[in-house]
């Protein structure tokens, strides 16, 4: 393999793995966040607190825990997820799920009362009022997705410990940067860093454009 095709493959692999992680985290996290942000029930604030405190979980700590779980000697060893892209996707999904849930919840809580009351007094039923709150929160929900993706693609611990940085299979941008740096290939590491940052910028810019579209579309 040439360096160029390696770079392309690594970049695509990063996008695929972290994109999938952000997608799965959205599929799980958005509904959970919606429930936590919109429904009032006993123990809700305790649950919100738990997710908030999980926001800062160190990636290496999670990587180590998941290694022990996914190892052939561990409880989920039979799934053979260690050193596979699927394993990294699962790990990164778990890593960014608290971000997804917390940002969603906080956004909804932030716009909740006044918008909900406005919708209600304008004649909306509870369901339509909840929809109004969600519609006002579109920016925050997309922020949750972009923050999740950014954290996933920029993290090293899980990708390294669950993926093993195997060339062509589980090598992603961050593990490549770490490897090339230890190899003394500083320039290459720097190039990979630029790719990583540009990717994050592009995705965030894309979501920003999408935000306006979605908001516009929701009012049609």
């Amino acid at each position: 393999m040439t360096v160029e095709s390696d770079l392309l493959q690594i970049t695509l692999q990063s996008l695929f793995i972290s994109g999938s992680a952000a997608l799965f985290a959205s599929v799980i996290g958005l509904p959970v966040g919606l429930v936590l942000g919109l429904k009032r029930f006993r123990g809700r604030h305790a649950i919100i607190g738990v997710f908030n405190s999980l926001l800062g979980i160190p990636t290496v700590a999670l990587g180590l825990l998941l290694y022990l779980v996914f190892s052939n000697a561990g409880p989920l060893g039979f799934l053979h997820m260690l050193y596979t892209p699927i394993g990294i996707i699962v790990g990164q999904t778990i890593l960014v799920l608290p971000i997804m849930i917390s940002v969603t919840t906080e956004t909804l809580l932030g716009v909740d009362e006044s918008i909900r009351n406005l919708a209600l007094t304008m004649g909306a039923d509870e369901q339509a009022a909840a929809f109004s709150v969600v519609r006002e929160s579109v920016g925050g929900l997309l922020l949750a997705i972009s923050a999740s993706f950014s954290r996933a693609i920029a993290e090293l611990g899980v990708a390294l410990m669950i993926g093993g940085n195997i060339r062509g299979i589980t090598r992603v941008l961050t593990t490549s940067i770490a490897l090339e740096t230890t190899r003394g290939e500083i320039a290459l590491g720097l190039g990979l860093t630029v790719i990583l940052i540009v990717l994050i910028l592009i995705v965030n810019a894309g979501l920003n454009i999408l935000k306006r579209r979605v908001q516009w579309w929701l009012w049609e």
Partner: protein, 332 residues
Amino acid sequence: MRRESRIIATIAVIAVILSGAAFYLYLSQVEGKETLTISTTTSLYDTGLLDLIKDTYEQRNPNVILAFISAGTGIAITHAKNGDADMILVHSPSQELAFMQEGYGVNRKIFAYNYFAIVGASADVVGINQTDPIEALQAIYTYGHAHNTSLWVSRDDLSGTNSKEIALWTAAGYNYTELKDEFWFISSGLGMGSTLNIADEQSLYTLSDIGTYLKYKADGLITLEQLVAEGQDLLNVYSGIAVNSITVTSIKFALAMDFIKWLVNDTAQALIAAYGVADYGQGLFLPAVNIIKDQAPAQIFEWIRDYSFFDEGGQLYECPPAWRSGDFGLYI
């Protein structure tokens, strides 16, 4: 409305295509192939040797993927014990012995060697240039004690290099654990490259594997000099060990043995001998298989034997018969 839908659809299509391409690339890599997972010491991987070996081996065996997990010798052995690797490539005879004694490793085969080097700033304040490694460490200890200055940086990460360092300090008459409390003794906890960078920045001495050192030196990342190099005490021997399929049933034993067999054949040995010569003026690794087979050159063979052979019934073996499994024609 139509324009907005089109933009959203375009973004979705691009996302799907990208994911699909990545997934397809992954599948095409993996599909119908077997993966041999090899936990390996960083010095073999980070120098790039294993990338070359991977490409060559996979070309000859298109149905096999070599998945190298680069870690220190300690972690490599842990991976193997957990059944997360099918074989290991390491360089720490004492740890290898324990690994095999515990019943986890079989069919050990030494495939390469080189020398560690004590490196330091060209000023060489202690004056260890050209001395014997044991004398050099003693001089560093004495100088460190007499002067209020940082002098030595240790990786302190239970890697093969670190084990070698511990053995050297022990041979010089010091207790490594106690040394770590000395003010002139820095513990980096980092890999070889980073530790070399620290030594370079702060003009410290350190023990380095020759491969990483030569690469960093040739790339102009460090200006450190090899002050004590070669000699029996600095010998560094790399061996491959298959995980014992009786102890850890999930591993791919046949595949591991096939790779070990290939690694010790003449093609691979020539590959190892040639690696780095063009870039660094000297090979990073020296082939060991023929030296052991021919027991020549005699001095090198004796060094390797004394350093890295294991005893069974009063005789020294590269891999004692008790820990051999199956006949792959590896031993004479």
